[in-house]
Symmetry: C2
Subunit: 209 residues, 2 copies
DNA sequence: GTCTATAGAAGGATAGAC
DNA sequence: GTCTATCCTTCTATAGAC
């Protein structure tokens, strides 16, 4: 494989990434991809055989990108509250730069059980969970950890996934989306940390079912 | 229009709702809809002219369903904390019964600016915002309200939108999705309320930019 | 109003020249 | 390796009989 081959192949791959990320498998057109890569449609098939195979290559890459960023943040070694703040800053900055990524993963994984399995096989959550477990040992009961993790992800990802709607509604209220997200990198971790602190304050009032 | 017409038309409409909700516009096939309605493909066109028009009818209905439920809950007249709890219970129970609905709205609105406008025109948020405003007057600064609202929606909707992934990850940890969501109707409002209470405790430590 | 048959368009895939 | 031309399947849409 020559340098030129490599060049064309990666041009195609990048174009396909953009188109699939934007439109999803069903609505994406091979012609759109060829156009964006400034090459002929036949070349797509020369390099990737079928639309399906090209899509799979793109999905693998994007799924890995999505999960790696997420996991790597939790690998960092710092105190729990600081880690929460660090997570929101890093993760939301990442999502700002890749605003279509989470929606792409959600849509495709929803559509295809095969892709879901593929994605799940990348996610080894027990590692992360035990890290969090150690971090907050004592401040929260073990059973609360999955809920905490889901809350963190929800607060981080949803405002990006719902960007068009949120942007529209905010502008009705005279607020700029970009500014709102910027604030959120601070507001969301405050929110989480406050909730946990308060939980501790009232620990003995809570049923520990 | 006879009773039979009405019957066929609504049979078609219901079938179309199911198919579009599940697959989205791009991947849905007129043949699938005809099959599910147990009628002939030509009849779809007789009643709705084109796929696009049929889709629009379905989208209108579903968008309205989604938003109406959301807004109606906040109309209720009760103390703020109770309302939060009531919201999560009602809204998440609704989403449990309509698990594909939020993903459908998000996907389609993302794809088409026209649908986004349609949806936004239904959403008159100022009403709800002023209600919340009155509720929590004093406990939170005015600027914090949009963030609070977005946090509420994120915590309520995201675990449903990400159902396949979440279900997969939870099962790795030996947790059942259904049970998790049930707990969440309690955990999520606790979380919100704790965060707000804590905010009040430390009000004077916070920068009020 | 409902069906069968088919037109017509769109899109994925391949053949074959260069 | 890259292009043009074309095949073939799939899908929306319509014509026309009943």
């Amino acid at each position: 494989m020559t340098a030129t081959d490599k060049h064309t192949e990666s041009k195609i791959f990048e174009a396909a990434t953009e188109i699939f990320e934007e439109k999803g498998l069903a609505a994406a057109r091979m012609q759109d991809i060829a156009d964006r890569a400034s090459i002929n449609k036949a070349l797509l098939h020369y390099y990737f055989r079928t639309k399906e195979k090209l899509f799979m290559a793109v999905f693998d890459k994007l799924a890995e990108k999505m999960f790696r960023k997420f996991a790597s943040i939790f690998e960092e070694d710092m105190p729990f509250e600081e880690k929460i703040r660090y997570f929101f800053y890093e993760h939301m900055s990442f999502l700002e730069k890749n605003p279509k990524l989470p929606m792409f993963i959600l849509t495709e994984v929803n559509r295809s059980p095969e892709l879901l399995d593929k994605f799940l096989s990348m996610v080894n959550i027990s590692n992360i969970k035990s890290k969090i477990s150690a971090d907050i040992s004592g401040s929260l009961p073990e059973e609360a950890i999955p809920h905490l993790m889901v809350s963190i992800i929800s607060l981080s990802v949803f405002p990006i996934v719902a960007k068009p709607i949120l942007q529209g509604i905010l502008s009705q209220a005279g607020i700029e989306y970009r500014q709102f997200i910027k604030e959120r990198k601070q507001v969301a971790p405050d929110f989480i940390i406050n909730a946990i602190r308060q939980y501790n304050v009232q620990t003995n009032n809570k049923p520990q079912k």
